[in-house]
Subunit: 380 residues, 2 copies
């Protein structure tokens, strides 16, 4: 569907600024190329074929997914090289097997020796050899085994001896979202790299193959000075960026390619509020900037043309109501003149992955102002 | 689709305990009946026909919606009496007109004199008389006009003189979510009632009709001692209840009818963590209990059979990873024995409206343990 103008869209709507998105895609691809590694983008951010095809066209090789539904959808759309980057549980073995038997080069991950054994048992029962990567913990953030641990080797052995293919190791420096200086980001990127390389070397020293060393998060990917020993980079949110990433310091608010188009539906004059038709259902409940240096509430207000309006935030949100106000100080007594009922505005999100997930489609705004509709999916 | 057991479900999954839900429905309907008012449930909580049909079967009359998409869907499914309870903006007039011309008894609301005029102009241009209710502010929470204000009469006049039908007034005591004592809830319920009745009386004193006086929020609906002068009650989340409502004090965690079924995928033994395959994409980012007396993190952990496991919470969440830990004190050193990989658990949500919205369907768990799939929709 082609529309002639953003102003024709029903609100709230998720708008993608395509030129900004293309610049973000090119920037990360250039990083991977310069560092001499493959880029395997995480498609959980967009779940949108139109966008992932653009990442592939720019040079990405393979994709990372967060659900088997993403694997199903993108495999069906012509993406066979897929890393499912959430620890596999036994209740998902059958679905993974079905994908692999249909020709999907699906890689599983685990950080658990029992699971590594169970995969082998399940594979033998079904005459199938799964490819499994071991998740390495580099920052205590979430999952993964310490790179120097016995557990790493236990899992490697369970895979090798169980008849699975030990395809590689991966790490994700999720704690990078909590940083905001170049020095700290560079240091964490190096920890992520060295942890993962160490794990691979320890596995290889056992005589086991471990061809892939996969690392990444958007902040560390954009901060790494060297990826010596690494074979691929994973990153997701860079395709849009968001206010959390702006606070981390790896983009500016002006680089954020996703916004939510809303309409002013009323005012509370005494309080200096404009009420808009985008609340938390549209923005998501993500308050990722709450603990950061700059709290953007539920989002940064921009004009309908995408120009940042400094100091105006979505300061509150109910399900379908957003409260727009000036940050700090006195209420804006001119709020109704500034943003009359019917005014369209665009709100930059705290977290693009969470905000995009609230919408069945993106409205892609081209350089010429034309709008295309790009479907996205959700669920499991 | 019928399944034989909750244990067959792919995870994460949104599970509805149907007997609990039916008790919640019956409880609110009995309240409305006792108070002598009509119950017009807010369907934004579930967006699920199977559930709203059960509310209607129990005695509900008409529905409340938060989006015109809900109006479209429920009108098509046989619900003509619909209140769209978000201030209408001019860019939605055409869609509202189309619904009304198809026979939908759609009521619009506003708290803005300009909009009230614009509706009249648009209506006259299209030979149509819209029914509009005026939104009254009873607690400074969000939208609405003060019941004693000149603005109330200005809007009433704009509707009357513009050729619209002034169908009623409505209020929503959203600040009730911040309370947690019976006395405070009763007091706010009375403020909600009296504000709305006062507004209606002032409009009627002008000689204008104002037949409907509509109030409600789940906490005030369950706390009101009298609804003298009120004609209908709106409430939404009561159908499921959630941890926010438990903190407010209008239900127990054991009454919560919605939970997210998850599977354990790994552990961090030193930290006493189990990692589950439900993160914020499944639970939503809603941290509504964060500011309440009891912070449940991203949710309360229950056994697969729905038994609350005291002290175990989803303490953290990434997109598809949940971190399950014991609250406070020492890490649980037995976490891997207690919840081995593959263990299924159910997580009660902070906010049922937000959590349900993350799923394309509910899995309805009957008294006999059988499972039915109930679709729900999303988007705008």
């Amino acid at each position: 569907m082609q529309m002639n103008s953003i102003k024709e869209l029903a609100t709230p709507a998720a708008v993608v600024d395509v030129p900004k998105m293309q610049r973000n895609i090119a920037r990360m691809q250039a990083r991977a190329d310069d560092l001499g590694v493959k880029l395997r983008p995480h498609v959980k951010t967009t779940k949108c074929l139109d966008i992932v095809q653009r990442q592939a066209a720019a040079g990405a090789q393979g994709i990372t997914v967060s659900t088997l539904k993403e694997a199903e959808q993108f495999f069906a759309a012509g993406f066979p090289d897929i890393l499912y980057a959430v620890g596999i549980a036994p209740n998902k073995f059958a679905q993974a097997l079905a994908l692999r038997e249909r020709g999907c080069d699906l890689k599983l991950i685990t950080d658990n020796a029992q699971v590594a054994q169970a995969i082998g048992v399940f594979g033998r029962e079904h005459g199938h050899r799964f490819e499994v990567w071991i998740e390495v913990d580099c920052d205590g953030h979430r999952s993964g085994v310490p790179p120097g641990s016995d557990l790493l080797l236990d899992i490697g052995r369970a895979l090798q001896e169980g008849g699975s293919m030990l395809g590689g190791v991966l790490a994700h420096a999720g704690s990078s979202y909590e940083l905001n200086t170049e020095a700290a980001l560079k240091a964490l990127a190096e920890v992520e790299r060295s942890s993962c390389v160490t794990a691979a070397e320890r596995l290889r020293a056992q005589g086991w193959p471990c061809p892939v060393v996969s690392i990444g998060s958007t902040p560390t990917a954009l901060s790494a000075q060297s990826l010596q020993g690494v074979t691929e980079l994973r990153a997701g949110v860079y395709v849009f960026f968001d206010l959390v990433m702006a606070n981390v310091g790896v983009c500016a608010p002006q680089d954020v390619a996703l916004s939510v188009l809303v309409t002013v539906i009323g005012h509370q004059l005494e309080k200096g509020w404009a009420i808009v038709d985008g609340g938390w259902m549209a923005m998501s409940r993500d308050r990722g900037t709450q603990q950061q240096a700059r709290d953007f509430g539920y989002g940064q207000v921009c004009s309908v043309d995408g120009e940042v309006l400094p100091g105006y935030l979505l300061s509150g949100a109910n399900q379908e109501h957003g409260i727009l106000s000036r940050q700090g100080g006195e209420p804006d007594r001119e709020i109704a003149q500034r943003f009359p009922v019917g005014t369209q505005l665009r709100i930059l999100p705290n977290h693009a992955c969470a905000t995009g997930a609230q919408f069945p489609q993106y409205h892609a705004l081209g350089a010429d102002g034309g709008i295309s509709t790009w479907p996205r999916f959700y669920g499991w």
